[in-house]
């Protein structure tokens, strides 16, 4: 067998295989982030910040320098890094419990400050790591272990649309929501990540990519079913698109 290799493991991914459940999009997103780092030649200039959530071990899976932040505080940690190393490339990678619940203040303020960092936001509508509880992004009616009869807006309120929320601020340079659940979606996602990273290199300030992701385990669906659900249901509540680009 000969030919040129057109797809291989990016260098920015380490050799350690991740422990995500089968079909979990965290794996795809790690690969995309790593590929973009490779393609932009950033590996040796990067400091990544990972969250508390299923992707807590991202520090093992990436081969760039990594910091494990406390739950929800990745934007603050990334701020600390970027302020001391303005010439390095700094990204944060966070789940929706991490970013949109406990980390709400840190996210809003990093965005408001126009902090020159790139944030990848994995919205899978649940707390994967702790066993499938309700997240701030859980759609009304969806069942989770802490809303066993389905999220009831009367007592548990409504999901937060983080892109729309941050788009009201003057700090962000780029805000987009993507869904890597189709061939086109995967390509768009990579383009979005690339643009978010490039913006930082261009000194444009805060950029933010929300990824409609999945959790086959706690959604109790087959991976391919989660893709369908995202395309048909999640995107209705969380419309895809570019919210800020300046």
């Amino acid at each position: 067998m000969t030919g040129t290799k057109v797809f291989e493991r990016p260098k920015a991914l380490s050799d350690i295989q991740h422990s995500y459940c089968a079909g979990c999009l965290h794996g795809v997103m790690h690969r995309i982030v790593a590929e973009v780092i490779d393609e932009m030649g950033l590996l040796e200039n990067t400091v990544g910040v990972c969250p508390v959530g299923c992707s807590v071990f991202m520090y093992d899976y990436m081969s760039c320098d990594m910091i494990e932040a406390s739950h929800g505080r990745a934007p603050a940690v990334a701020t600390g890094v970027k302020r001391m190393l303005p010439d390095k490339f700094v990204f944060a990678y966070q789940g929706d419990g991490d970013l949109a619940a406990i980390g709400t203040a840190e996210t809003v303020h990093a965005a408001a400050r126009g902090e020159n960092i790139s944030v990848i936001f994995i919205n899978n509508g649940t707390y994967g790591m702790t066993g499938g509880q309700m997240a701030p992004t859980t759609i009304v009616g969806e069942k989770r272990t802490t809303c066993p009869k389905g999220r009831d807006p009367k007592t548990a309120g409504y999901p937060i649309k983080v892109c729309e929320l941050l788009a009201t601020l003057d700090g962000p340079s780029y805000i987009t929501r993507v869904a890597p659940v189709s061939a086109a979606g995967i390509n768009q996602t990579k383009m979005a990540v690339k643009k978010a990273f490039q913006n930082q290199l261009d000194g444009k300030g805060f950029s933010f990519v929300e990824v409609l992701s999945n959790c086959p385990t706690h959604w109790k669906m087959k991976p391919i079913e989660t893709f369908k659900w995202i395309e048909e249901t999640a995107t209705v509540h969380f419309p895809l698109g570019v919210f800020v680009d300046r």
């Binding site: 079909g23 995967i186 391919i224």
Partner: protein, 68 residues
């Protein structure tokens, strides 16, 4: 001629590549890998693979490499 290689040990058997392959060239293998996971394999010797790499791009475990 394009072809893919699925690393059986990295595969977790999520079946996403099977659904994404436009030529339907991938299937689940029988048995388990050393980690106890089911895994996928190329069928028909990969006949008619275009090297589109969709399988590789959707694979959460980066288990697939593509040649063209």
């Amino acid at each position: 001629m394009a072809f893919i290689e699925i690393n059986k040990e990295l595969c977790k058997g999520c079946e996403l590549c099977i659904h994404f392959c436009p030529k339907k060239l991938i299937e689940m293998a029988d048995g388990f890998n050393s980690k106890g996971n089911r895994f996928s394999q190329v069928k028909n010797n990969g006949e008619s693979c275009t090297g589109c790499a969709l399988c590789a791009k959707v694979c959460p475990d980066v288990a697939i490499e593509v040649w063209r």
